[in-house]
Each structure stands twice: as structure tokens, then as C-alpha cells.
Point group: C2
Chain length 183, copies 2
């Protein structure tokens, strides 16, 4: 099988204070003095092991951003997948469904409805492919183009907000290091 989108997750969490992660993290678990049996109450939950996992941290960070993304992009009627597809079409006029699937790791059946929706909203047009009768080239309409100019700006702004604790240099480093994992 081709690798479609994977959903499973390490689970993100709610907003925490912001401990600056000292060299030696303080013991977080507190046991009440009870009998010898392991019947105790947990005060703070210790997640230090999970925090050593890149998958856990990457997902938590991604979901933290996506949470705000959903909120800010809702006025455009775009969820992350719609946004990624529209953006890719915008920057690659004439791109085919097959290419979108390969690039964004979507499965063809799942892209069909998405494309139809974008088309019925007048955001994209389907034109015949120059030299492949099977394929269809996707193009952003002027309306779709204008929407994406706004949407991309909103997305970029939101991301800068979410990465406010990072210096520009750290932000660039982070992007580069993440790409070393998946590219």
C-alpha cells in the first residue's frame, strides 16, 4: 500500500506554565506517606520520558500551532489540509491531483471531495492537461488567488505568534532541523 496520511498521535496537552527546563529537572512526583502498598496520590504528572521523544514533542508543537491555525483560518473556510492543497495549487498552477497526493501524502480518494469542494466554491479551476488526457491541471481562480494571499499572510502571522519564544535564528534552526528528519 501507498503511505496515506497517518493520524495516530502521541497526544498533545493543555497549555502549561513554562518551566525553563533546568539542567537537572526537579522531581515532580510526590507520594503521600502511606502503607507499603503502592496506593498513593499523584500531585504533578511526570512526563519527562515522553519529552525525550522527538515524535511526542514534534506532535505537541504541531498541534499547538494547528489549534490556533484552525481558529484563525476558519473565516477563510480553510482547514489545514484545504490550506495546504490551495497553497500548493497557488504556487504550482497546473499541478495534478496525482502530484498533490504525492507531495502532500494524501490518498487519491480523499482528495476528490476536497477538490470538488474548492471548485464549487469558485477557488480553483480544472483545465485539461497539456499532454496527458487522463490528468487534469488545477489552477487557482482570481478569487482563489486573492483568498490565498490573505490566508497565507494570516498563517504566517499566526506562526510568528506561536513561535514568539524563539529568536529568528532559533526559528530558522528549528525549521532546518525538522526538515532533516522528514526529508
Amino acid at each position: 500500500m501507498r503511505g496515506g496520511g497517518i493520524i495516530a498521535c502521541f497526544m498533545p496537552s493543555q497549555p502549561h506554565p513554562s518551566p525553563q527546563v533546568p539542567a537537572a529537572a526537579p522531581r515532580k512526583r510526590v507520594k503521600l506517606p502511606l502503607a507499603s502498598t503502592d496506593l498513593a496520590a499523584i500531585d504533578q504528572v511526570d512526563t519527562r520520558y515522553l519529552q525525550t521523544l522527538m515524535g511526542y514533542n514534534a506532535r505537541r508543537a504541531a498541534l499547538s500551532i494547528i489549534e490556533l491555525f484552525l481558529e484563525r483560518l476558519a473565516p477563510y473556510g480553510l482547514k489545514p489540509v484545504d490550506f495546504s492543497v490551495m497553497s500548493t495549487i497557488q504556487h504550482n498552477p497546473g499541478v495534478t491531483s496525482r502530484q498533490l497526493c504525492a507531495t502532500l501524502n494524501l490518498l487519491p480518494p480523499n482528495l476528490v471531495g476536497l477538490i470538488q469542494s474548492l471548485e464549487s466554491r469558485g477557488l480553483i479551476e480544472r483545465k485539461p492537461h497539456p499532454h496527458d488526457g487522463r490528468a487534469v491541471g488545477l489552477h487557482a481562480t482570481p478569487k482563489g488567488h486573492d483568498l490565498m494571499v490573505q490566508a497565507e499572510q494570516t498563517a504566517t502571522e499566526l506562526e510568528i505568534e506561536k513561535t514568539a519564544k524563539l529568536t529568528p535564528a532559533q526559528r530558522k534552526t528549528l525549521l532546518t532541523l525538522l526538515q532533516k528528519i522528514y526529508l
Copy 2:
């Protein structure tokens, strides 16, 4: 509403070569010389804009790791959520469902079946909470403990494999920077 798990995504993609991201990325889009109309074929899909988004990169990296995680942890019968829950119970004996939900950002109704499954597999035990009759403390059984020792080692190994292009220092930097986003 409380913030439950968020699924929406920027969509990951298939394994790519590994361009070392030069200072000025080369133009990737190629248009065939056709009429003045925008009817052209795309050779390489340009994803440079999406790659400037932290959410996109973080999610792509996370899914790249999770893909291998699913494969390697399948023998243990653990998916990422199960793993996170078991690991948190393992490191926090007596933790309650409510605490798990808050920590891992799960919604209570979705945790119920998961806990029941782990219990029926003999991996965890439910004991009365020391001073709250409503709550139930969760504890790993010896069987669950042993399973998680193995599972965590497998997970750690897999992660090292997936981050092989990073130096240990870069890996640590990446973890720290990601935590600056979601903590």
C-alpha cells in the same frame, strides 16, 4: 469546550531525497513553452512556502517518526496513544484518568475504552484512590511494567534511527526548541 485532541493536519509527504537546503533554493517549477494561457505542466512541485511554516514542518517530522513507530511498536500491541498512556501510568503509579486527560490532552470519553482495553490485557490495574472516592488510581502490573520497559527501549531506538541526520547536540536543541513552542 475543553481542548480535546486535534487531528487536522498540514499533510506529510513521501520520502524525498535530501536536498541540503542551500541558502538560495533553486527554482523548482518548470513551465513548458505554450500559448499565453496558463496551461502548463508541472515538473517538480514547489513546496517552499509550506516549508516556511512551523506547523507544516513539525507535523511532517512527527508523522515521519510515527509511521515507523506504528510499525515497530505493533508487536507490543501499542499505538502511540496507548504507548503514551501506558508510559505515563508507568512513571506515575496511581495517576487518575482525569490527570491523564489533562496531561495528554485526551477527552475523557475517549480514554475509557483505552483504559478498559489495557486492563483486560492485564497491563494495568485500577485501585481505589487514597482520598477521593470518585477517582481511580491506575497502576502498571508487573506484566505491563515489563512490556513498557521493552516498548520504551524500542521507541527510543526508533527515534534515534529517525533522527540519524542530527548530531546529539542538534537533537537536544530540537527538543528544547519544540518545547518552547508548546510549553
